[in-house]
């Protein structure tokens, strides 16, 4: 990491801001997860369905994240793409108890990954197999199979099971994201500078 540290210092990129897109079907728990992650979270706050998007910020040890928490309802999903270009990482949330709509989630994921603003970029994708506390929830392995995650070859990805209400599993995910997003933005900005 030594080289990268120096490079980042040279590029003035310390405490770089990372734009994260938080996607997934409606009711999967995106807003709940983001609320857990932001510093001034007031637990127990009622979550209402998002219309459009919300912007939230939180910091990890070396990065500050700006998350676009998008609405997952079908009529808004085609608006996600307006925000693809400038994002550095994606959090994709799945309701692991919603077997019925798993195919819909897979369809949306495939559309996302094949979008021209996403497919060529090596941005990290973090999957939360959320609502693991529910008794009929599938394991993260099962979810990963159903979404055929192993076919994603050109992007670093990671899946972890989570319970957004209790905050379980979130730290693991964010730690993974921090390392990979850092790498991504180094490349991203080097690329910009070279260009």
């Amino acid at each position: 990491m030594g080289l990268l540290d120096k490079l980042s210092g040279w590029l003035g990129l310390r405490k770089k801001e990372v734009n994260v897109l938080c996607l997934g079907l409606d009711n999967s728990g995106k807003t709940t997860i983001i609320n857990q992650l932001k510093p001034a979270n007031t637990p127990g706050q009622e979550v209402v369905p998002t219309i459009g998007f919300n912007i939230e910020k939180f910091k990890s040890s070396s990065l500050s994240f700006t998350v676009f928490d998008m609405s997952g309802q079908s009529r808004y999903r085609n608006l996600w793409e307006h925000y693809y270009k400038e994002s550095h990482a994606i959090i994709f949330v799945i309701d692991s108890s919603d077997k019925l709509r798993m195919v819909v989630a897979k369809e949306e994921l495939d559309t996302l990954l094949s979008h021209e603003d996403i497919c060529s970029k090596k941005l990290p994708v973090l999957f939360f197999a959320n609502k693991m506390d529910l008794h009929d929830a599938m394991s993260s392995v099962k979810v990963s199979q159903m979404l055929c995650l192993e076919t994603i070859k050109d992007k670093p990805w990671h899946i972890c099971a989570s319970n957004a209400i209790e905050g379980e599993g979130l730290k693991e995910g964010v730690d993974w994201l921090q390392g990979n997003a850092r790498a991504f933005i180094m490349l991203y900005y080097c690329h910009c500078v070279v260009k």
């Binding site: 801001e17 998007f53 912007i55």
Partner: protein
């Protein structure tokens, strides 16, 4: 020198507006930096300002580019810069209707409106309501209800005002917020209370009972906010007006009680409301006028202004009430605020006596150059009114007006002066030459085409008949040399009139015409060539028909006839007589003292009432082949008001037929009428050819049936006829609630009033601007004269009015106006008789124990002359 340079710099605008030369595409390109991370608030702010500037300049943004810019802008929500965020709200509102998917910011805005930062909350509500449609409104309803009763006044006000805007779109949803609005109406904050009252009123305004209840409640409980009080006063006076409530109503008492409110704004509102009420008695007016009087001596300029402006407005309606304030108004004529001084003087001019006119005019001349055009127009209007009241003062006024005409000023101002001078000329023949001279001087340096052409037209009409017509020629010809096409063309027409009227001027007019024939403009050359050829014939009849008195046909009618003629080519030349006549003759230049701003120029030529009938009747197959519609009379009621059926008749005259149009309304909600027709029994040899029934006449939906009648060919003098009329129909009783009719019905009839056809139905009004020329043109071949005594008529004025309405002809040369204190008068009437015969009447009237009238009739057709004389005698 330096100062001058500065001024020029300022005028040219360079440097003063940094956004002047913005390019939309460049700005949109710049907007890409919204996508950059991190955000640079200062630069983004600047770009948003540019976008909003362009939008407000009316720059068109395509949907795609607008949407792209909008979505880029949404990223700026990640910045916490306050100014930038508020600029985003503004951008959202501006782009709400041009970008797609603006609801994308809904959650972000709801977050801001419910957040901790009060600076964001109000504006976020306003932006949110702009992007929310009825389908989305449910989703934010809860937040809106909370915001209305929020304890932060700016939040509550924003929510109330936004709700008010949304009433138009989603009345049913907003209606559910009435309890919250009710609660806000008892707020301690004056703005919140005012806005809450506004919302409550707009939710109820179509329900008079609810409005009354609301007024009762608030007038009893009282309000804290003076704004709310003003609004209550307006609501109350509107309600009074609508319900024609007497002044003993509690609403009037409420308004009057507001005269004693401790807030001046409320007091003024109440006074103004009372003063503007129709039918106010002197006693009711007095307290209102006396508070206005008090305001006249207030140290606050705004109050003095409000008071004097209101007094000025009512001065014409209630002069005696305003006279009570004369002393206070006198004090205001030297007010350092020129607007107040102007209003004070013009008010005094309206109410003052003849003797004070000179003094007031002198006073106002001392500062007229210091006031704005708008107030100068007020002065001119006051002068105009004064001239009508005191005709003898016209020379003072004329002098004053001519000085004003020389001053700088905009179009509205100059137009007001010119109109005023023209009306003085028309009212006072002895002022004609002075007035024309002033106008001649004015057009020497006049930048307003409309005014120049108007004055040239007037010169052409009046100049040739003055003692020294030659002196106007120079002024007119100067226009041909110096002005724009429209003015040159008008000048040519004016010149032609001098040549036609004055034989000794003809040679020089012809020389000038010759020169105009080489003009660079088509219209000017065409007119000159045309007039040249007419003038060279030296025939009075030609001059009258083609120079003095223009076309009297309906312009839209002419357009249609010509179009029709070009559609099926024929050997026959186009016949002007087939074109319907203009129904509202171009009135002689009579100047109304109408508020100048409302009469916008240029007016579009709207189809007249008769053009519309022509079209409607032509669409009915039974009435095809009747030829052009000659005249449609004003409707005549054939039933009393509030009877079971309401019927009125419009008589349409064609060259050999009449069509009677019966507009019927069934006011019984338990009846459906079918096959409705009006049977007509003529008293003379008029023949009913055809009835066209109205198929069905449901409750309260008007319908028309028609009767076609042939005019008697064999007796052309039988112009008047009485028809007895009976409405016949099939009744089907029906359920008043559902409107469902019974299966079968029964025949019934209803007797209507008799319908008269008179000579006026056979004559169409036509204005001859130069009656003398027209009189010569028709000639005396069929002239007939008779003398009558009108025993029952007491005054000349009454006689004139009766003759005009009986014959239905157009008074010319303003001869319908009988000068005061005269015991003889000549009335000139012009018209066209059915079949296209020009008809002129000259009636000499003398007052001596009743009125004696000598009528001379001329026409190109003998029977017409006989018909008219027969109908008079």
């Amino acid at each position: 020198m330096i100062k001058k340079f500065d001024k020029k710099d300022e005028e040219s605008g360079s440097g003063s507006n940094p956004f002047q030369h913005l390019e939309k595409s460049a700005v949109l390109q710049e907007a890409r930096i919204f996508n950059e991370t991190p955000i640079n608030p200062r630069r983004c702010l600047h770009i948003l300002t540019k976008i909003i500037y362009l939008l407000n300049q009316g720059e068109h943004f395509g949907t795609t580019e607008a949407t792209e810019a909008f979505f880029a802008m949404t990223r700026l929500f990640q910045s916490n810069d306050q100014t930038l965020r508020r600029m985003c709200y503004l951008t959202i509102k501006e782009m709400a209707n041009i970008s797609e998917d603006v609801i994308i910011v809904t959650s972000s805005l709801t977050k801001d409106m419910t957040g901790k930062d009060d600076v964001y909350r109000g504006p976020a509500i306003r932006a949110l309501c702009r992007i929310t449609d009825t389908t989305m409104l449910q989703a934010i309803e809860r937040y809106m209800k909370q915001a209305i009763v929020d304890k932060v006044p700016s939040v509550s006000s924003s929510a109330l005002v936004s709700s008010l805007h949304m009433v138009k779109m989603s009345y049913d949803v907003v209606k559910r917020w009435v309890n919250e609005a009710q609660e806000a109406a008892s707020s301690d904050n004056i703005m919140v209370q005012y806005h809450a009252l506004g919302l409550l009123y707009h939710l109820r305004k179509n329900d008079r009972l609810a409005v009354t209840k609301m007024l009762n409640k608030f007038t009893k409980s009282g309000l804290k906010s003076p704004f709310a009080y003003c609004m209550l006063i307006r609501i109350a006076s509107k309600l009074l007006d609508e319900t024609e409530g007497g002044h003993d109503s509690p609403l009037f008492d409420f308004i009057e009680s507001c005269l004693r409110n401790k807030n001046e704004m409320v007091v003024y509102e109440a006074a103004s409301a009372i003063v503007h009420m129709p039918n106010c008695t002197a006693r009711e007016l007095a307290p209102a006028v006396s508070v206005l009087q008090l305001f006249c001596s207030s140290p606050k300029a705004a109050l003095r202004y409000a008071a004097v402006r209101t007094l000025n407005k009512v001065a014409m309606k209630h002069p005696s009430a305003v006279t009570a304030c004369n002393l206070d108004l006198e004090n205001l004529i030297t007010d350092s605020n020129r607007s107040i001084a102007t209003l004070a003087i013009t008010t005094l001019l309206k109410t003052g006596s003849e003797s004070s006119v000179d003094r007031l005019m002198k006073q106002i001349s001392s500062f007229v150059s210091e006031i704005s055009d708008e107030f100068k127009v007020v002065v001119v209007q006051a002068i105009s009114a004064l001239c009508q009241k005191y005709p003898r003062k016209h020379s003072v006024m004329m002098n004053f007006l001519s000085n004003m005409l020389r001053d700088d000023g905009g179009f509205e101002y100059k137009r007001a002066i010119v109109d005023c001078i023209i009306s003085i000329i028309e009212e006072n023949p002895e002022s004609k030459e002075t007035g024309l001279a002033h106008l001649c001087e004015f057009i020497e340096d006049c930048e307003h085409t409309v005014l120049a052409t108007k004055i040239l037209h007037l010169l052409g009409k009046e100049g040739p008949r003055t003692p020294q017509p030659s002196k106007y020629i120079r002024f007119i010809f100067n226009r041909v040399v110096l002005e724009s096409e429209a003015v040159r063309a008008a000048a040519v027409s004016a010149l032609a009139k001098f040549g036609a009227q004055n034989d000794d001027l003809l040679p020089s007019v012809l020389v000038l015409m010759q020169r105009c024939m080489m003009d660079s403009d088509d219209e000017v050359r065409d007119r000159a060539t045309f007039y040249m050829n007419v003038l060279q014939q030296k025939q009075k009849a030609l001059n009258a028909a083609y120079i003095f008195n223009g076309l009297s046909v309906s312009i839209p009618g002419l357009e249609k006839s010509l179009h029709q003629y070009t559609l099926d080519p024929s050997e026959k030349p186009f016949d002007m007589k087939t074109v319907p006549l203009a129904t509202t003759p171009i009135t002689e230049q009579k100047t109304e003292i109408a508020p100048v701003a409302t009469s916008k120029l240029p007016e579009k030529l709207a189809p007249s009432r008769q053009d519309i009938y022509q079209e409607q009747l032509a669409a009915i197959p039974e009435f095809q082949g009747l030829g052009p519609l000659f005249k449609s009379a004003e409707p005549v009621q054939l039933t009393e008001a509030e009877t079971e059926y309401v019927v009125r008749c419009i008589k349409h005259t064609f060259s050999r037929h009449m069509v009677f149009q019966f507009d019927c309304t069934n006011t019984l909600n338990d009846q459906l009428l079918q096959k409705v027709l009006v049977q007509m029994e003529p008293s003379e040899s008029y023949e009913v050819l055809h009835y066209l029934p109205a198929a069905s006449l449901p409750y309260s939906q008007p319908g028309s049936c028609y009767t076609l009648v042939r005019l008697p060919d064999d007796d052309p003098t039988a112009v008047s006829c009485t028809f007895s009329c009976t409405m016949k129909y099939l009744v089907r009783d029906c359920d008043p609630n559902t409107g469902e009719p019974d299966d079968d019905g029964y025949d019934d009839e209803y007797v209507l009033e008799d319908l008269e056809v008179t000579v006026a139905d056979h004559i169409q009004k036509v204005l001859k601007p130069n009656f003398g020329a027209a009189w010569e043109e028709v000639g005396d071949e069929f002239e007939k004269e008779e003398t009558f005594a009108l025993a029952s008529v007491r005054t000349l004025d009454e006689a004139v009015k009766n003759i005009v309405s009986f014959l239905g002809m157009q008074p010319c040369e303003r001869s319908d106006k009988v000068p005061e204190n005269k015991n003889s008068h000549i009335l000139f009437l012009a018209g066209v008789f059915r079949g296209g015969h020009d008809t002129l009447v000259r009636a000499r009237l003398a007052l001596a124990d009743g009125v004696t009238m000598q009528v001379t009739v001329r026409s190109d057709e003998e029977t017409v002359v006989d018909v008219i004389l027969a109908s008079v005698g």
